[in-house]
Symmetry: C2
Subunit: 352 residues, 2 copies
């Protein structure tokens, strides 16, 4: 099971490719998969894809054509546009990675097949209801420890696999400014489930998920061109996904696999994008921490639409941006359902 | 700070010493500390302690003499008796370890100074309110990642440091029987805070805590001689401590340091001790998961006494054992306060 490559069930979504070495480096691991490239900037520029890759490429014009007025929910000139790729995919699983992320090496010096580890993570259950001190009990050589209730040992389906980064850590602008030279060199050989009721900062650099289980909640919000904020796209998606997974009994894992994050983005540019988020997240986190879904919320879509209403009601007071975001959340679901109609063969969690 | 040895502020509590090599092996790391040995079996047998160690030894006769009728709360012929040592200590910190736990080696082959790592864990804050994907943000080379709310970055005081075990994993009897050859060989180079609201199975083999912050909740229950259950002493303490820490805004960390657990206990004997616990924990866990303290519970003692009432009320139905345990919990607090009067110099959390 864990060694399955899922060739026909997984798409790789890449927000853009500025670095020509990127795909060459990943060739041994990515070549067998279908790529969806969502170009984040000027549509007149051409993205070069090396020979041998099976891919589809969408630029802004394509997004506008496919979604019509609903394209307003997809960010422009920001890597948040990648979520359009999640929507147009017809596969069960998605892996998304940034073009400044390269193949990392494990402590023995061997290249890490990040995708293989994500697939392992997604194919075995999560354990959000009780912490296991030897971490993922489904990993070879590990199990549930003494005192772990037997009724909880089946676990729950895994919806998200959050991978980490060696070299440049995913710090915010203030931390980047204070610690410009800090590098993550610690390889922590571990995967764990983030417990139920606990929020985490989900990074979109090296992320895999099950579209059928959680796809409609994997919306990366309104960032970039025309928006007051950036670099909160993956965070927003992570907070929404976490509360929905907790409600629906799904799991989110974090830890392995590592990629090698090659270059730090400019902390001054980042600060400009982030500074409103630094204030706003002080309101956003309590909002998500105290959030409860009604009993009617039996699908991801229903959860997401209800969440959008509460964003409007409770976060709209923080800044008018959240009124716009709440509307975009609804538009996103409409667009998702348009491209993934509930009666289609590919069973979508929303159609159950 | 992190390199402080806390020589005058930490006692090592050992439930018994059957293995003469045990203290010799730990000599370089333990010799500077005061040991409290609580003999778990026949008081007429003599425990040999090698020269050069500073220790006090308590057998059953001593416990009876010191606590009088309240000695009924201390288990006999079971390593759960170790909690008497927590009570008689006058130090701020406790480290407790089993006599079949030896010095482990890190991946570079170096002996691990378990106590030093526990002290590091206890001296820097915990982060129970939000998960940090690079784990302990206070560790060298790590920090809070992007998206971690700044208002939560001070963390909370750390009350408990739960260390792990290489070689023989801490499995229950059924898992031991199914996987007799499984060994834990994975060194996970990591410490993390167990999030608020999440229970975990706390193992007493390799455990450190801050007596002033959480001592009165570190009661190992009624096990062994005359009791229907064993091997749930540390679990019970862990569940009580976790809900109290969550309520009082204290943290519990797990992960490093490792010790080398040398020998598996007999799974058939273990099954006999455990089997009632295997049923009961299916009721115990929901009890703790749904537990809430009243606002009056501002000290560990007050929390613990309130908890004992609810144990009586809600778990008493499961088995009369819990009625006895609930009474013993109250007796334990009385005995604790007798030996650690609130007005003493050594500031106890209860006296604040």
């Amino acid at each position: 099971m864990a060694s399955a490559a899922l060739k026909d069930e997984l798409d790789i979504v890449i927000p853009t490719i500025r670095n020509l070495d990127f795909l060459e480096m990943w060739r041994p691991f990515f070549e067998q998969y279908h790529l969806i490239i969502v170009q984040d900037g000027d549509p007149s520029k051409t993205i070069k894809v090396p020979d041998g890759f099976d891919y589809e490429l969408y630029n802004r014009n394509d997004i506008n054509k496919i979604l019509g007025p609903r394209s307003s929910c997809i960010s422009f000139k920001d890597s948040a546009c990648r979520c359009f790729g999640y929507m147009v995919s017809k596969k069960k699983y998605i892996y998304t990675i940034d073009d400044d992320c390269f193949v990392a090496k494990d402590p023995s010096g061997k290249d890490i097949n990040a995708l293989e580890q994500h697939i392992k993570n997604l194919l075995c259950p999560s354990t959000p209801n009780f912490f296991n001190t030897l971490y993922d009990p489904f990993r070879e050589g590990a199990d549930y420890v003494r005192g772990y209730p037997f009724s909880l040992r089946e676990g729950v389906p895994t919806a998200v696999s959050h991978g980490l980064w060696l070299n440049i850590p995913d710090y915010d602008a203030p931390t980047q400014l204070v610690k410009p030279l800090e590098r993550n060199t610690r390889y922590v050989d571990m995967v764990l489930t983030i417990p139920k009721g606990t929020l985490f900062p989900m990074c979109g650099m090296n992320l895999a998920f099950d579209r059928e289980l959680i796809g409609p909640a994997m919306y990366f919000g309104l960032m970039g061109d025309g928006q007051p904020i950036g670099r909160y796209d993956d965070m927003w998606a992570g907070w929404c996904c976490k509360v929905i997974c907790d409600h629906l009994g799904l799991g989110i894992k974090t830890g392995l696999p590592y990629i090698y994050h090659s270059k730090a983005s400019n902390p001054f540019v980042n600060l400009k994008k982030e500074y409103l988020g630094i204030f706003w997240q002080e309101e956003i986190i309590p909002f998500f921490q105290s959030h409860n879904f009604s009993k009617d919320c039996t699908t991801v879509q229903k959860c997401y639409v209800e969440l959008s209403k509460q964003v409007k009601e409770k976060l709209g007071k923080v800044d008018p941006y959240f009124l716009k975001l709440a509307d975009a959340m609804v538009t996103w679901i409409e667009a998702w359902d348009m491209l993934n109609p509930p009666n289609k063969d590919s069973a979508n969690a929303s159609s159950k």
